[in-house]
């Protein structure tokens, strides 16, 4: 039930945003993420954006995973 998926904000209308994932569009509430901007990815949970995905951190984690794997014989 705590499922949340990353969706991209394509436009903002007051406290709602039009979002897109894999070609599917959906209007979501951004009352918990008022700082969200067009182009941001937000975590969508039951119709609400509960957080903004941190792209820099996402890249860092992938880099870390690659490094960890490269240290493994």
């Amino acid at each position: 039930m705590c499922l949340a998926v990353p969706v991209k904000i394509v436009s903002i209308h007051g406290d709602e945003a039009e979002t897109e994932i894999a070609g599917v569009r959906r209007r979501v509430s951004i009352v918990f993420t008022p700082e969200a901007k067009v182009g941001d990815y937000v975590l969508l949970h039951t119709g609400y954006a509960i957080g903004i995905v941190d792209e820099a951190e996402a890249k860092e984690t992938l880099k870390l995973l690659e490094e960890m794997a490269s240290l493994t014989p």
């Binding site: 039930m1 705590c2 499922l3 949340a4 998926v5 990353p6 991209k8 994932i21 894999a22 070609g23 509430s29 009352v31 918990f32 993420t33 008022p34 990815y41 975590l43 949970h45 039951t46 119709g47 609400y48 509960i50 957080g51 995905v53 941190d54 792209e55 951190e57 996402a58 860092e60 984690t61 992938l62 870390l64 995973l65 690659e66 960890m68 794997a69 240290l71 493994t72 014989p73």
Partner: protein, 370 residues
Amino acid sequence: MPVKFIDEYRNSELAKKLSYRIAMRSTKPIRLMEFCGGHTHTILRYGIRQLVPKTVEMRSGPGCPVCVTATADLDKAIALAHLPDVIIATFGDMIRVPGSYSSLQQAKAGGADVRIVYSTIDAIEIARANPDKSIIFIGIGFETTAPTIAASILRTMQEGIGNFYVLSLAKLCPPVMKALLDSGEVKIDGIICPGHVSVIIGSRPYEFIPRDYRVACVISGFEPLDILLCIDKLVAQIEKGEPKVEIAYSRGVKPEGNVKARQLMDEVFEIGEANWRGIGVVPESGLKIRKEYEQFDADKVFSVSLKPPKEPKGCRCGDMIRGAATPLECKLFRVTCTPERPVGPCMVSSEGVCSAYYQYETIGGDLQDF
């Protein structure tokens, strides 16, 4: 079409290398609990139980809101459904969970108006479209969902909608972790902490766990590489004997969490006790609607009389919720309890451990699935 922030965390080559690294680092036998039902699903689906070394035992925890809803609370929801001019709005999985004498689905078949919603926003729309009915939203969920329930009450108030109510069954994760650790029934060395609960609460509410119980805590995302990264960090902490709270899901979780969401949650709710299936009443583990908003509180507005609750015979969902058993130890599992005819909620819910075992355990997960 690849989905950003999901597909890059499903690389099976990386997963194999990570699992090898974990095996190299793990010397002592340890037991890890994945608290969240979403994590249980990823672990079973991708065969992570088979990927980790034999030293690492995995147990599932109470992180499934449908599963932990007490039978007495479900009975109340069913009784409310039978009141005249009431529409029940509920998240999908709840409808099939057997109560003591019936289920919401059976109530619906008997003429009650029970509707499945994806969001509290949909429940408000039902209220708007049916001004002569009372709409009661069955408010289950953890800290991830509780802010959305709070937002629905605030929005209803703002828009002057007078026929929307909430039966608040919302629950808090850190207090039930404390209850499990205090009971000492299942020895746990590390906890895979819930990712989306932590988007809201941050990492700080878990700090008492390494400090007071010497149990390692790492917050994880929901893709297979996220889980393996989390297990790698837990093993490292436990091997070093230095338990602490770490975030292995930094693209979603900040130490401070989502302050705005918590403000809205605190505005509407106050902390009280909650009744957990299989665990019992845990103090300060539930969210009650504050007096200022009691006009929306289904518990205050409606009254129903209830017979004493009874649990399904032989059902071990309570043991599953506490991590005291796996579904393979339940005599009903796959015999009389199946997804088509579930006996308990852990087989009904898509996050329930029995449902995950039923779907994936025979095939043992599959790396090709990545």
